[in-house]
């Protein structure tokens, strides 16, 4: 049987120090899907991504990538399972040049884009390749963070709030890129507060509240769940 879930989280509990932030998260991300985690600030969306990338003080439960348990794999080998991560703060290394940032990550797969393709998508990055990444604007840093992960070639990308604080022109650019990645068959787990942005991209939605999944539904059922979305997001 071919495992259809690219990523499966089951009964994930997570702690920051002594305080518990996740209380049994269940999420399935089918291969090739874009799945959005929605919820208010502090609901546990980012924490869920940190649980997958093992950045919490303590994490319990099962995390499977392509059917294989990865919660016991050493942290520096996670990327080699085909997992790419773009953290909320972009995670660009400020003291490294743009080019050094781009070339830093080990190649883990081949589903990524070529450097030329990325340069045509993000011309700013090409122009500023010798500048320290710390001198880029927020939008440029986001593009650098995305480009860097794509060059490594993972088949699953964890994206934390890619449009947060960005000018509309960058939001549009990132939406175009994600559409393109979807067409290429990449699996994306997206944490995003911007509903207008997410609406056009996600195939499936998970609503998270107080460290628990309170509802999930496919994109087709979006309109039936407007009331729930408003309640959970508090808009």
């Amino acid at each position: 049987m071919i495992e259809e879930n690219c990523l499966a989280l089951s009964d994930i509990h997570g702690w920051y120090g002594e305080s518990k932030a996740l209380h049994g998260i269940e999420i399935n991300v089918k291969r090739g899907q874009t799945v959005a985690l929605m919820g208010r600030n502090g609901a546990g969306k980012t924490t869920t991504l940190r649980a997958i990338t093992r950045q919490l003080t303590r994490t319990e439960g099962s995390i499977k990538k392509d059917g294989q348990e990865i919660s016991t794999v050493p942290r520096h080998k996670l990327a080699y399972q085909g997992i790419g991560f773009v953290p909320e703060d972009r995670g660009t290394y400020n003291t490294l040049s743009v080019q050094e940032n781009l070339k830093l990550l080990p190649k883990v797969g081949d589903s990524g884009m070529s450097l030329d393709e990325l340069h045509s998508f993000f011309p700013n990055i090409q122009e500023r390749r010798h500048a320290p990444a710390g001198t880029l604007s927020g939008g440029e840093q986001q593009m650098l963070a995305m480009a860097r992960v794509l060059l490594a070639g993972p088949d699953l990308i964890l994206l934390d709030e890619p449009t947060e604080g960005l000018a509309p022109v960058f939001v549009q650019k990132i939406a175009e890129l994600l559409q393109d990645l979807k067409k290429r068959g990449l699996t994306i787990l997206l944490v995003e507060q911007n509903m207008i942005f997410t609406r056009k991209l996600a195939d499936h939605f998970y609503m998270i509240e107080n460290g628990l999944v309170v509802a999930d539904f496919p994109a087709e059922e979006l309109s039936e769940n407007e009331e729930l979305i408003s309640r959970v997001l508090g808009v």
Partner: protein, 294 residues
């Protein structure tokens, strides 16, 4: 000929001695800076590593008849291996704790290593001769230049700037800098940070080993040779800026020179001048001359 009432050969001679001492300051403070940058640990065992470098050269020569040149290759590897074992077996367990624990542990290493060598060899210095090919001196006209001292300065410059190039200009260096800036995220990206940390500690110890073997023919090979020097080296690191590679190199050589000049013009102050400069630098730039948080 005289400058400020000091004869040129005397002045040049003191400058050379200053540069020579600076060569050791630079090598040792560079090792401390590299280790601090990556491990966030002030390596109090650094002076003991330097002392072990000198003793390794002495033992290789006395027991195995190894030449200076062979030892110059072997000693850094011996120190790197020892440091890797210490890091893997003990220091690694302190990851994530307050850096003070690392300082205490490495201070413990230093006491044990010094005590061990004192138990075996006593406190008196052991002799170690410079290689015959580097004995003698050249008359430069304005001064006599001992070959061995010139050799030490050149090797130190070469190793220091080689290290700088490695860290600032290569892929390995960019990986190290990335792992320094954000270790946990770097691991998520697939960089093997634990191995990088061990390698960095080993590399820093190897630098101390190089300084140790080069010191062996000039200074006495004794168990406490490191603890006498390391206090000055810590001051050099503070002046340069903790963790700054170029800061460590430049302030190492510069403070050696300043010390040499102080010996000429006001020799009574030569032992304290580095600390006076440290106090002044800390007052105006708490992060050091090349520190990034100033």
């Amino acid at each position: 000929m005289e400058i400020f009432g000091i004869s040129v050969p005397a002045l040049a001679g003191q400058l050379l001695i200053g540069l020579f001492n600076g060569a050791f300051y630079a090598l040792l403070s560079l090792g401390l800076a590299v280790i601090f940058g990556m491990l966030r640990i002030i390596n109090f065992a650094h002076g003991a590593f330097y002392m072990l470098g000198a003793f390794s050269a002495y033992m290789l020569s006395a027991y195995l008849g190894a030449s200076f040149w062979l030892s110059l290759l072997i000693v850094p590897l011996v120190l790197a291996a020892l440091a890797a074992v210490l890091e893997r077996s003990m220091l690694q367990r302190l990851a994530g704790l307050d850096p003070l624990y690392g300082l205490l542990l490495t201070f413990g290493f230093a006491l044990i290593l010094e005590g061990g060598m004192q138990y075996v060899f006593g406190v008196a210095g052991q002799p170690y001769s410079p290689p015959a090919s580097l004995s003698g001196a050249s008359n430069l006209g304005f001064m006599f230049m001992p070959h061995y001292r010139a050799f030490v300065i050149v090797v130190s410059l070469f190793v220091c700037f080689g290290t700088w190039l490695l860290i600032e200009r290569t892929k390995i260096g960019s990986i190290l800098r990335a792992a320094t800036e954000n270790p946990s995220l770097s691991e998520v990206f697939g960089l093997n940070v634990p191995v990088l940390i061990t390698a960095t500690y080993a590399f820093g110890a190897a630098l101390a080993g190089i300084a140790g073997i080069m010191a062996a023919p000039v200074f006495q090979v004794s168990p406490h040779m490191g603890s006498n020097l390391i206090i000055v080296v810590f001051a050099v690191v503070v002046i340069g800026g903790m963790g700054s590679i170029m800061g460590a190199i430049i302030s190492g050589f510069a403070l050696g020179l300043v010390e040499g000049l102080t010996k000429v013009f006001y020799s009574e102050a030569s032992n304290v001048v580095v600390f006076v400069i440290m106090a002044i630098v800390l007052y105006f730039r708490p992060a050091g001359l090349f520190g990034k948080d100033a």
